[in-house]
Amino acid sequence: LQRKLRSIWSISLLILLSRYKDRHLHMSVFSQSFSPCGRFLAAGNNYGEIAVFSLSSALSPDATDLSQTPILTFTAHEGPVFSLFSTDSHLLSAGNGEISAWSWAELIKRNTKAAWTRRPNYKSSLEIPEINAMTVNPTENSLVIGGGDNNIHIMDLESGIFKSVLQGHTDYIHCLSVREREGEILSGGEDGAVRIWDHRTGQSVHCIEVYKYEECARPQYGKWISCLTTESDWMLCGGGPSLSLWHLRSMSPTSIFPLSGCQRQANFYQDMILSVGEGQCVSHCLLGGEVKAQIPCTPHSLNTLALNLNSTDNRVLTVGGSSHQIDVFTNLSYRTFSLSF
């Protein structure tokens, strides 16, 4: 529901784009992705623009204010860019119901011509459903897309053909995750269910309704699942219900994290869990369920969290949300500086 409200809100704001000086006030960063070399960061906002920042120049000792602004900003889609994903050579962006691919090499040379643009086969042609989440299944080299039409579309990255559609959710899909070893796709949606799909058969193997578990449920917030991430046998999911850690083999919740507000993205990092959502901070939690620290940041509410693990020099954490600024953390304990859209 929040996503729908946000998209209506952002489309109405696109009409107000003529008031250029207020653009920054109403900007929200929805997605981020690091380049495969680890030296650049791409961020997508609610106006459908993608900005590419040079991390190496922003982190260098002689950085100026200019190095904290994008090296390239371009309009990628007509609608908000809710999801960005980087493969070894391309940046994939999802907006307005379609997926475009941009070559990283071309983007670094400031060439904004898309390599390809594809659209999944939506049943209804009246309303174009937005794409909320994208991830890649490396074993099959396929792109998994989840969005507003309650289905998961799987596209083969080499040929561009949409191989299959996974149906089962009764409301739109917020988040996706892939477990390579077991060959499973996990999806969380507005209907409050986390479904586990087998990517070969396309059948829903399990369905966990998180809001039905008393310890996780927060009826005052709703039952929707907005963040989902997995690591070996463990899964983190949250949203309306509290952020909780699940053991997938026994399908049981092991720890509940007492974070107020709905979490929008969570990641496993070394022995900790990093989580962002409503609330002006990045929460560091331990697997046992305690909240170790809450680091304040600029945006009032955060939408996306990204860790640059591709490079050894620019190992940073970046968060973006309801602000035109993206906070960069070189040391997890405090905010170092902010990039400006």
């Binding site: 850690l245 053991h247 092991t254 070394q270 022995d271 697997l287 046992g288």
Partner: protein, 214 residues
Amino acid sequence: MGAVTDDEVIRKRLLIDGDGAGDDRRINVLLKSFTKWCNSTGSPEEGFTQYQRMLGTLAQCEFSMGKTLLVYDMNLREMENYEKIYTDIEQNITSAHDKISECKKEIQRAKRIRKNRQEYDALAKVIQQHPDRHETLKQLEALDKELQQLSHIKENVEDKLELRKKQFHVLLSTIQELQQTLESKYDCCRCALLRQDGLWVCWTVWRSLYKGWV
């Protein structure tokens, strides 16, 4: 060309004459006084005093030379000392670097261990919520036994029921037969005997049934 060498000469002279004002001047004065003393025509006492004075200046010059030599030695030794300290510090730096990388690896390992421990704790918490396996097994065994006993009892009761049914069937059929024979047209003695037999059969069957029930 001339200017360069001039500068060099000036620089060298300044350097040499840098410490202790007038070493150079003293040597010049000594030379001048020596030549003056050689060519002097004064009295022998004056000559002697001048000679003493010259010896004094010579001693001063030797003294300052000795001092400079010592300072030079000292500088050499200081240089060696500094070289030693420099190599020591370099070694310390490299060993500190090594220790740092070791510690970093340790930290990574410790973090992994902590993560594993936390996962273990989380799973243990969930497992604790479930009842103990031994207790459940014992409960299962007890329930099994109860089941067996109850099925045993059920079998017995069913057998008894079967037996009673058969016995009642026999009784009823004998009664019916007796009725039939009584209703048929036979003479009185036979009737009486038959009636007695029939009644006796009924009575035995009834008694056995009664005994069986009790």
